[in-house]
């Protein structure tokens, strides 16, 4: 369950990064559709956070430690909303670039999450 979610969130994050990267290439700021995309990715990360905590509550142990696991879950959840919030104040292509960078960072976090969970 968690592995599938990690994969899906990671892929979604990369898609978001590509999409916003495309907007930046075309010299456009982030628009409503992009924010809906960010919301979708953020919801995935939130579900992942909840599922992760439920798994912990059930007594399952991440291979590399619970604290690191929870820290990365929280970081993954905060990542895209933070970038989206920053892009609100920057109505140029650089807002789009920042969200694209946020998507890439989230994808990296997902890879690390997978490592931390499976060892």
């Amino acid at each position: 369950m968690l592995d599938v979610l990690t994969l899906v969130t990671g892929v979604a994050a990369l898609l978001l990064a590509a999409w916003c990267g495309w907007a930046a290439y075309r010299d456009q700021p982030t628009k409503d559709w992009h924010f809906i995309g960010m919301a979708v990715v953020s919801v995935l990360a939130l579900v992942q956070l909840i599922v992760g905590i439920v798994q912990l509550a059930r007594g399952e142990e991440p291979a590399q430690g619970t604290t690191i696991f929870v820290a990365y879950l929280l970081g993954a959840f905060a990542c895209v909303p933070a970038a989206g919030f920053m892009s609100l104040g920057e109505r140029t292509r650089w807002g789009s670039v920042t969200v694209a960078a946020g998507g890439v960072v989230l994808a990296v976090l997902e890879v690390r999450l997978y490592d931390i969970w499976t060892g």
């Binding site: 920057e90 140029t92 650089w94 960078a101």
Partner: protein, 146 residues
């Protein structure tokens, strides 16, 4: 199709604003590094400090430098710009010194730091970031003057 590359991006003309345009991306990456370095060192120092005290202390120092640069960029103004410039230079020196140190004397570092191997564990962002930032901050002064 017109080439997007050919047009020069207009930069915010408001004086002393350091986070407009490309600066925003810079702040984002610095923010990520602050969270990465500070949380990592906080965890390592509280749980296993004795294992690699030097490495963990260096990570904590890196986190503080990143934090200060982020704050300066967001704050803006000429003083903050200069302070950020000094810190970026210090950061670059830190990455280069620690990066070389970790390669030369592996025994001193039982565990890696943020700056180990020039920041290879962080996709070399630690070494690319100060270079980009110094370039950006230099341009910020030119834009204010001109």
């Amino acid at each position: 199709m017109t080439s997007g590359q050919a047009e020069v991006t207009p930069v915010e003309e408001k004086p002393a604003r350091l986070i407009g345009g490309p600066g925003l991306l810079l702040v984002w990456f610095y923010g990520v590094m602050v969270v990465g370095a500070v949380s990592r060192s906080a965890y390592q120092i509280t749980t296993e400090f004795d294992r690699a005290p030097l490495a963990y202390s260096l990570s904590a120092a890196a986190g503080l430098v990143y934090g200060f640069i982020t704050y300066s960029l967001v704050r803006g103004g000429e003083t903050a710009r200069r302070a950020a410039q000094v810190c970026c230079a210090a950061e670059l020196a830190g990455v280069l010194v620690v990066g070389t140190w970790t390669l030369v004397d592996r025994d001193a570092f039982p565990d890696s730091t943020v700056w180990s191997d020039y920041g290879m564990g962080y996709v070399f962002i630690p070494v690319l970031l100060p270079l980009t930032a110094l370039f950006w901050l230099r341009g910020a002064r030119a834009r204010q003057a001109g």
